[in-house]
Symmetry: C2
C-alpha cells in the first residue's frame, strides 16, 4: 500500500474455497469492513455452513458460476491443482472487468496457463497470481483467523501480460488485509519456494515417515518441531510437489549434497569437518531468528 | 517414584556444568527444597557467577575435585565427550558411597567406560547413566528453569554392574524433580535416540545448511520449525554424533531410503504413490500430536 493510499473497498468479493486461507480472507474483509458482501464457494455445504457461522462469508454457494456472477474481486483458495480450472470457470461467469487472483503455493504453471488467456466476457477478466506465506499444517475453516495475513509476506507474481494497474490492485488487496507485499516473477518464486518450503516439506515428511512407530514415546520437542509440517494436508502438498516438480528436485539435490557431506564427515569420524558443517547450518538458522 | 515413597533429600549435591540442564537441576533442587547445598562446577567464573545469581547453585567452584569433596550426589551435565573424564575425576575425589549420574544424550559409550570401573575411595563410588529428554536449542544458564524436568521423560540406563538400589536412587532423583522415568539398556537407548533425535538433528542441519542465504526472506514458519534444532550448540552436537556414530548412520540410511522413495515418485510424477508416502508420514506425525 503506497503511502497515503486509501484502503480499497469492494462491493462483492467471491472466495473460492473457504478453508484456512479463504476463510481467513473472508474474516479479514469483514472485520476490516473492506467488502459489503463476501460470497464463499465450496464443494460441501457443511464447510460453507461452518464458514458462514464463523462470520467468514455472508453467503455460501455450491455452484462456482452463481457465486461469482456479481463479484468484482475473486480469490481462488483451492488446492494448486484446481486453481487454473476454477479461475477459468470464474472468468467465464464473472462481470466484465472483475479482478481474479489466487493463493496457490506454486506460480509458474498457474500463471503460464492463465496469463492473458482468460475467456472473460468482453475479454476483460484479469488474473494476477499471488501466494501468501501464511499457511499452516492446521487446515480447515475452523482454524481461519481475521489476522492470519497481518504482518505476513504475500508474493505477487505478475505475468508478462499483466497490466500494471491490475498488479497494483492485487498488491493493494493483500496490503488491505495487513500483509507486506513483494513482487517477483513466477519463475523466481517457484525456484525460491522450492528451497524454502517445498523441499523442506518433503524432508520433514521423509523424517516423519522414517521414524519407527515403536520409538514414538522417545520423540521429543526436536522431532516434533522438525516434523510439524509433515502433518499438512496430503492432497494440497501432493499437488504442490507435482506443480513445482523440477525446482523441488533441484532443491532436493542441493539438500542431499549437504547431507552427504555431513554423512561423510560422520563416517570418517572427522570432528573438525562435522563441526564446520554444523556451524554453517547454525549460522544460516540463527540468521532467521526463532 | 514408587507410590507412597517420600521425595529424597540430600545434604550436598554437586552439578558439573551449569548450563541449561545443570542450571535447571540446581533451580529445581532449591525450589523443591531437595538439597541443603548445591555446588556448581564450571570452566568459567562468569557462568558460575550467573548460575549463582539465578539461584541455581549456592556456590560456584572452578576445580572439580574441590566441588565434589562433600557431595553425596553428583550429576555431570557437561557435553557427551567430557562426561567419562568428569565422572572419573569426580569419583576419585568424592566421599565414599556417593552416587554419580549424568545428563548425556548418548549412553552406550559412557556406560561402557564407567560401569563398574570407577576408581572411588574404597571402590564405592557408583555411576548410573541418565538422559533427560528436556534439551533445547536455547542453551546456557540464562535459559535454565526450575520446571524444565516437570512432566518430561528421563531415560535411566543401568549398566550390567549397576546395583538395583543405585538404579532406584537415580530414578528417584529425577522423579523428585517432577520427571517421568523409564529404564532401558544403553544400547536400546542409543538406537532409539538415533532415530528420534540424532538423525533428525543432522537432517535439520542439512536443511538449514542447504538453504541459499538469498532466499532467507522467503523462509516461513514451516522452514523455521523444521530447522529450529539446527540452532543447537555445535560442540554438544558434534560430540553426540561421534559418540553415537554407527546408530546415527543406520538411522540416516533409513531416512535416505524413505526420502529416495519420495524423490522417485516425484520424478515419475506418480501422484498416487507420492500421496501414499505423504499419508504414511502424516499418520506417523499425527500420532504424536502437536
Amino acid at each position: 500500500l503506497s503511502a497515503g493510499a486509501r484502503a480499497p473497498h469492494w462491493d462483492t468479493v467471491a472466495i473460492i474455497g473457504v478453508g484456512l486461507m479463504g476463510g481467513s480472507i473472508g474474516l479479514a474483509l469483514k472485520e476490516r469492513r473492506l467488502a459489503r458482501r463476501v460470497v464463499g464457494v465450496g464443494r460441501r455445504q457443511e464447510s460453507l455452513d461452518r464458514a458462514r457461522a464463523a462470520g467468514a462469508i455472508d453467503e455460501g454457494v455450491l455452484e462456482l458460476e452463481a457465486a461469482v456472477a456479481h463479484a468484482e474481486l475473486i480469490i481462488a483458495c483451492t488446492p494448486v491443482g484446481r486453481i487454473v480450472e476454477d479461475v477459468t470457470r470464474a472468468a467465464r461467469a464473472c462481470p466484465a472487468g472483475a479482478l481474479l487472483t489466487d493463493a496457490g503455493s506454486t506460480k509458474q504453471q498457474i500463471v503460464a496457463r492463465l496469463d492473458g488467456k482468460l475467456p472473460g466476457k468482453l475479454g476483460t477478466a484479469r488474473f494476477v497470481g499471488s501466494h501468501p506465506l501464511a499457511g499452516s499444517e492446521k487446515n480447515g475453516p475452523q482454524n481461519a483467523r481475521a489476522d492470519l495475513y497481518e504482518g505476513r509476506l504475500v508474493l505477487v507474481t505478475p505475468g508478462k501480460k499483466s497490466a500494471p494497474a491490475d498488479v497494483q490492485a492485487t498488491c493493494d488487496f493483500w496490503s488491505a488485509l495487513g500483509a507486506s507485499v513483494w513482487q517477483m516473477s513466477p519463475l523466481a518464486h517457484d525456484k525460491a519456494l522450492a528451497n524454502t518450503s517445498h523441499m523442506p516439506h518433503l524432508v520433514s515428511a521423509a523424517l516423519a515417515g522414517a521414524t519407527p512407530p515403536e520409538d514414538r514415546p522417545l520423540c521429543g520437542t526436536g522431532w516434533r518441531d522438525t516434523t510439524r509440517i509433515a502433518g499438512g494436508d496430503v492432497e494440497v502438498w501432493t499437488q504442490i510437489f507435482l506443480a513445482n516438480q523440477q525446482n523441488t528436485l533441484k532443491s532436493l539435490a542441493r539438500f542431499e549434497k549437504t547431507l552427504s557431506a555431513m554423512r561423510a564427515a560422520l563416517e570418517r569420524g572427522d570432528e573438525t569437518r562435522l563441526a564446520k558443517l554444523l556451524t554453517e547450518a547454525k549460522q544460516n538458522r540463527d540468521a532467521l531468528g526463532s
